[in-house]
C-alpha cells in the first residue's frame, strides 16, 4: 500500500495570502494513502527540506508530494532531498499551487483554494503510480564545432581550446576576423581593432587544439548532445593551401578586377585574392564567379607565376565529416540595405554612404588611406551629417528593434572624423542616445564636448541636392524648429540584421530562430547562451545585435558551457524519455514525423519469433529524446510509453479531479 507525504508551502505570502493553506493541508489528510500532511513557510529552505527527509524515514513514505512553486524552480531541490533520505528521487511530484493558482487567482481566494486542492489530489494520485527511475548516461565526444570565425567564434574557440578540448572552427569566407577586422578603432577606448584582433587570429591558426577550416560551410548535422556528426563542405579555393606560401605573386599579376567586399566595394580586388593583408590563413582563393580561366578557359596567369605550382583549376568542392559533442553558432550579422529611404535619395546620391563604408575610409589600412572622401568628387568633406536609426526602430521601412551599437559607433565616428579632418564638423541626427555600458556615456560626452559634435534630436525627413551640397532636413525638437544642414557627406547608421543564411542554418542544425532570423536562446534571461537543443550554444550577434564586449563575454560563456558539458566522461540525463513497445508498433512512422528533436528513427526487426522476414518499427534514441510526449499522443496503437508520464499516472490524475 502506498504511503504518501504531502508538504504544503506558504511561499511567504505568495501562496498563503491567496490560498487557505491550513484548509488545503486538512483536505489532503482525507485521502487514505496520505500518511502525513504538513505546512511550512519556506519548504525549499534547509529546515523545510529537513522536514521532508525526516518524514520520509519516520513515516516510511513511498512517494512525496510538494505543493509549492513551479517544478521549473525547485523540482531538483526536492528530488535531492528525497535522494538524501534514501528514496528514489523520481518518486516526487510537485503540485504547482503558486504560478497555477495563487498568482493567477488573486481576486478569488475560495476558488484558488479549491484549485489548489485539485492540483494536490492529482499529484497524490499520480505519485502513487510513480515508478523508480534512474538517470541515463550518454557517451560524449570531446570536440567542439564552432561555426563562424568572427570575434565571437575566435573567442569561443580559443577559450575551449585553452581547456585542452579540440575545436573545429569553420569559417565561410577565406579568412577569419569577421566584421571586427573591418573596423578602425573601437569604442569606448578607441583602441585599434586590428591591433587587438589580429593576435587572436594568429593564436587560432597556431593553437594545437584548434583545427581551422576556412572557406567552408556546415551542410549537415546529425546526432544529439555529446554525439553530433557534422558534414562540412570545403569550397573549392583552386589553391593548394599546403604548398602555397602566401607570397602574393598571383594576386599581383591577376588581370581581373572586381569590387572589394572587404572594403565595402569602395575599391577593387583581384579575382584571386586574400581579403585583407592580415588575413588568417594568409592564402589566396580564386573567386570562381569572376576568374576568366574558370569562366572561359583563358588566362591562367596566376598558375604561370606561382613558383610552387599551388594553383589547381580542377579543384572541386569537398565534403568532410567531424564528430563533435557540442556546437557553438557564431554567424555574426549583416547590415540593412538603406534603399527604401527614397526620400533621402539613397542610390541616387554618391555622397550618401553607410557607416561601415565610413569605417573603411577612416581605417588606416582602408581604401582611402584613412582619410574620408566624398565618393562623387574625391574631396575631403568638412561638414558631415550622421543619421542614426536607419532601418532600426522603423517598422515602415526596416525593423522594429534597436540595433544597439549605432549610438556608440556614431559617437566614435564623430570623434574619428575630427581626428582625421581637423577643420571638419559633425552633425548627428538622433532619436535617443542609448549609451548604457561601461564607459559609454562618458564616451558620448567626449564626442559632444571634446569633438563638439552637434546633436540634433529628430529623424531626418528629406535630403536633396543643392549645388554640390546635400541639404539634410530634419526637426531639431529641442528648439522646435525645422533645420536644414548643408552636408558634404552623409553617413547612414544602417540597422544590424541577422545574416540571411541564419534561418537555413538554424533548420539544418535543428535550433529555432525568431521572426528576424536571429537564433533563439533557451530562455531570454536565465539561459541566454544555450539553444533549446542540448549541446548547441550561441555566441555574439547570431542571437541578437551586440557590441564587442558583450559578444566576447557571451563567447566565453559558450566556452564555459562546452567545458562543463565535457567535464565528465558521460553525460547525465533525466530518465523521462519515450520507449517503444515493439509488439504494438505498426511501423506507421507518424511518431518519426512529429518528433521535434529528430529522436526517432526506424529499424527492421524479425516479423515473428525466429522469422526471417522483417518488419519496420520505430526506435527512439534516448540520448536525443527530450520527453515532450508528442510521439505518445500521435501513436495510434499506443505502443509508446513516456517514463514519468505513463498511462496509469495520467489516468490516476484525471480520475482524481
Amino acid at each position: 500500500m502506498a504511503r504518501v507525504g504531502v508538504f504544503v508551502c506558504y511561499c511567504g505570502a505568495n501562496i498563503a495570502d491567496f490560498i487557505d493553506v491550513p484548509a488545503v493541508v486538512e483536505e489532503a489528510k482525507k485521502i487514505k494513502e496520505v500518511k502525513i500532511s504538513v505546512l511550512y513557510k519556506y519548504m525549499c529552505s534547509d529546515p523545510g527540506q529537513g522536514m521532508i527527509r525526516d518524514a520520509i524515514v519516520q513515516n516510511r513514505l513511498t512517494s512525496v508530494v510538494v505543493a509549492a512553486c513551479s517544478p521549473r524552480m525547485h523540482e531538483k531541490t526536492f528530488r535531492k532531498a528525497l535522494s538524501d533520505a534514501g528514496m528514489n528521487p523520481y518518486m516526487l511530484e510537485v503540485a504547482n499551487i503558486r504560478e497555477h493558482s495563487s498568482w493567477v487567482h488573486q481576486k478569488d481566494k475560495k476558488a484558488a483554494t479549491e484549485k489548489a486542492n485539485d492540483l494536490i489530489r492529482m499529484a497524490i494520485a499520480k505519485s502513487i503510480a510513480n515508478e523508480q527511475l534512474h538517470e541515463i548516461s550518454v557517451p560524449v565526444t570531446k570536440r567542439a564545432l564552432v561555426i563562424g570565425g568572427g570575434i565571437a567564434g575566435i573567442q569561443a574557440a580559443l577559450d575551449i581550446a585553452d581547456a585542452r578540448i579540440p575545436v573545429t572552427l569553420v569559417e565561410k569566407s577565406p579568412s577569419i576576423g569577421g566584421r571586427m577586422a573591418q573596423l578602425d578603432e573601437t569604442f569606448p577606448t578607441l583602441d585599434c581593432s586590428q591591433c587587438i584582433l589580429t593576435p587572436k587570429m594568429v593564436d587560432v591558426a597556431s593553437h594545437p587544439y584548434i583545427e581551422l577550416i576556412p572557406y567552408s560551410e556546415v551542410i549537415e548535422l546529425d546526432g544529439y548532445v555529446g554525439n553530433y556528426k557534422a558534414k562540412i563542405k570545403k569550397k573549392a579555393s583552386y589553391v593548394d593551401f599546403s604548398s602555397c606560401t602566401g607570397c602574393g605573386a598571383c594576386t599581383q599579376k591577376c588581370p581581373v578586377k572586381v569590387p572589394n567586399e572587404f572594403n565595402m566595394n569602395i575599391d577593387k580586388r583581384k579575382a584571386i585574392y586574400t581579403p585583407f593583408p592580415q588575413a588568417v590563413p594568409n592564402k589566396p582563393v580564386i573567386d570562381a564567379t569572376h576568374c576568366t580561366m574558370l569562366l572561359k578557359g583563358k588566362c591562367g596567369i596566376c598558375a604561370k607565376v606561382c613558383e610552387k605550382g599551388s594553383i589547381n583549376f580542377k579543384m572541386v568542392d569537398e565534403v568532410i565529416e567531424r564528430e563533435v559533442g557540442a556546437v557553438v553558432i557564431a554567424t555574426g550579422y549583416d547590415l540593412w540595405d538603406p534603399k527604401p529611404y527614397e526620400e533621402y535619395g539613397v542610390g541616387r546620391y554618391k555622397d550618401i554612404i553607410t557607416s561601415l563604408e565610413f569605417e573603411r575610409m577612416v581605417s588606416a589600412s582602408g581604401p582611402t588611406n584613412g582619410v574620408p572622401i566624398r565618393p562623387s568628387d574625391g574631396k575631403v568633406p568638412k561638414n558631415v551629417v550622421f543619421i542614426k536609426c536607419i532601418g532600426s526602430r522603423d517598422e515602415a521601412k526596416g525593423i522594429e528593434y534597436c540595433s544597439k551599437i549605432c549610438c556608440m559607433y556614431t559617437a566614435k565616428h564623430a570623434i574619428l572624423l575630427h581626428h582625421k579632418v581637423h577643420d571638419s564638423h559633425a552633425y548627428i541626427f538622433y532619436m535617443d542616445i542609448r549609451a548604457a555600458g561601461k564607459g559609454y556615456e562618458e564616451f558620448v560626452k567626449r564626442a559632444q564636448v571634446e569633438t563638439a559634435a552637434t546633436y540634433l534630436r529628430g529623424r531626418v525627413s528629406k535630403i536633396y541636392k543643392k549645388g554640390d551640397k546635400l541639404m539634410v532636413r530634419g526637426e531639431d525638437a529641442q528648439i522646435g524648429q525645422v533645420v536644414e544642414v548643408e552636408a558634404d557627406l552623409v553617413v547612414l547608421a544602417t540597422a544590424v540584421i541577422a545574416p540571411k543564411d541564419n534561418p537555413s542554418l538554424a533548420r539544418l542544425l535543428g535550433v529555432s530562430y525568431d521572426k528576424y532570423g536571429y537564433m533563439s536562446e533557451a530562455h531570454p534571461k536565465l539561459r541566454p547562451v544555450e539553444t533549446a537543443k542540448a549541446g548547441i550554444f550561441l555566441a555574439g550577434c547570431t542571437q541578437a545585435p551586440k557590441d564587442i564586449p558583450d559578444t566576447v563575454a557571451q563567447a566565453s560563456a559558450c566556452a564555459a558551457k562546452v567545458c562543463g558539458l565535457f567535464a565528465g566522461d558521460t553525460l547525465k540525463k533525466d530518465p523521462m524519455v519515450s520507449t517503444i513497445n515493439n509488439e504494438f508498433c505498426s511501423g506507421c512512422q507518424n511518431c518519426v514525423k512529429v518528433c521535434p528533436y529528430q529522436a526517432i528513427v526506424t529499424e527492421e526487426i524479425p516479423l515473428g519469433h525466429g522469422s526471417k522476414e522483417l518488419r519496420t518499427v520505430a526506435k527512439i534514441n534516448e540520448g536525443v529524446c527530450q520527453g515532450c510526449g508528442s510521439c505518445v499522443a500521435i501513436c495510434r496503437s499506443m505502443a509508446i510509453n513516456l517514463a514519468g508520464f505513463t498511462d496509469p499516472q495520467i489516468i490516476n490524475e484525471i480520475v482524481a479531479i
Binding site: 526602430r393 529628430g458 529623424r459 532636413r473 526637426e475 525638437a477
Partner: protein, 190 residues
C-alpha cells in the same frame, strides 16, 4: 504650466483614435512628420506636438490649435512615419470633433480657411460643380478683402485662364438632396 493628474481614462485620445482609425499611442516623437510637413512652420503646434497633446488628453488646447486647419492632407507625413501612423486622419479627426463640439478658433487664418470651405461647399450645393471666378470673388467679399489677387485677375481673365462663364450639373436637385441626406447622417452619428 499644465498640471497632469491621474490619466486613468483618456477619453479625448479614445475619441481621436476611434474617429481616425489610427493609434496615437504609437507615436514615439521622432519629429519626421514635422520636417516633412510643408506647413508645420505655420502651425501653432506641429504634428509631433499635437500627438503628444492627445496623449496628455489636452482636448481644448488641441481643438483651439490651428494645426488641423492648416493640414493640407498631402499625406507626406504618413508616408514617411516610421510607425505608419495615419497623421492626416488624426488631424481630420480633431477637426471634425472640434466642429461637432462647436469649438471655433478666433485665429484670422483659421476663420478664412473655414470660410473658404463653407463657400466652396455652398457653390457645389448650388451648381454641383465649382465655378472658380465666383469662388474667388465670394471669398474676397466674405473675408472683406476685396482687392486680394485682383492684380492677377486682368491677366488671367484676358488670357482665358479663368473663364467667365460656368457650367453646372443638370440634376441640381439630386445634389441638393444629397446634401440634405448627408447632413442628416452627420447628425444621426452624433
Amino acid at each position: 504650466m499644465i498640471t497632469l493628474g491621474l490619466l486613468e481614462k483618456n477619453t479625448f485620445l479614445e475619441a481621436v483614435n476611434k474617429k481616425s482609425g489610427a493609434n496615437v499611442l504609437e507615436c514615439y516623437q521622432c519629429g519626421k512628420c514635422v520636417s516633412t510637413c510643408p506647413v508645420s512652420s505655420y502651425m501653432d503646434f506641429p504634428p509631433r506636438e499635437i500627438m503628444q497633446m492627445i496623449k496628455l488628453g489636452l482636448k481644448e488646447e488641441s481643438y483651439m490649435a490651428n494645426s488641423m486647419w492648416f493640414c493640407l492632407t498631402c499625406s507626406a507625413c504618413s508616408g514617411r512615419c516610421p510607425r505608419e501612423i495615419d497623421i492626416p486622419a488624426v488631424m481630420e479627426a480633431i477637426r471634425h470633433l472640434a466642429i461637432e463640439e462647436n469649438y471655433r478658433s478666433e485665429n484670422k487664418k483659421v476663420k478664412d480657411i473655414r470660410k473658404f470651405h463653407d463657400i466652396f461647399l455652398d457653390m457645389i450645393k448650388r451648381y454641383g460643380r465649382n465655378y472658380e471666378l465666383r469662388m474667388m470673388a465670394e471669398f474676397n467679399i466674405r473675408t472683406r478683402n476685396l482687392f486680394k489677387d485682383m492684380h492677377l485677375a486682368p491677366k488671367a481673365l484676358l488670357k482665358g485662364k479663368i473663364p467667365i462663364g460656368h457650367e453646372s450639373t443638370k440634376s441640381a436637385k439630386a445634389i441638393q438632396r444629397m446634401f440634405k441626406l448627408a447632413g442628416k447622417l452627420e447628425k444621426e452619428k452624433r
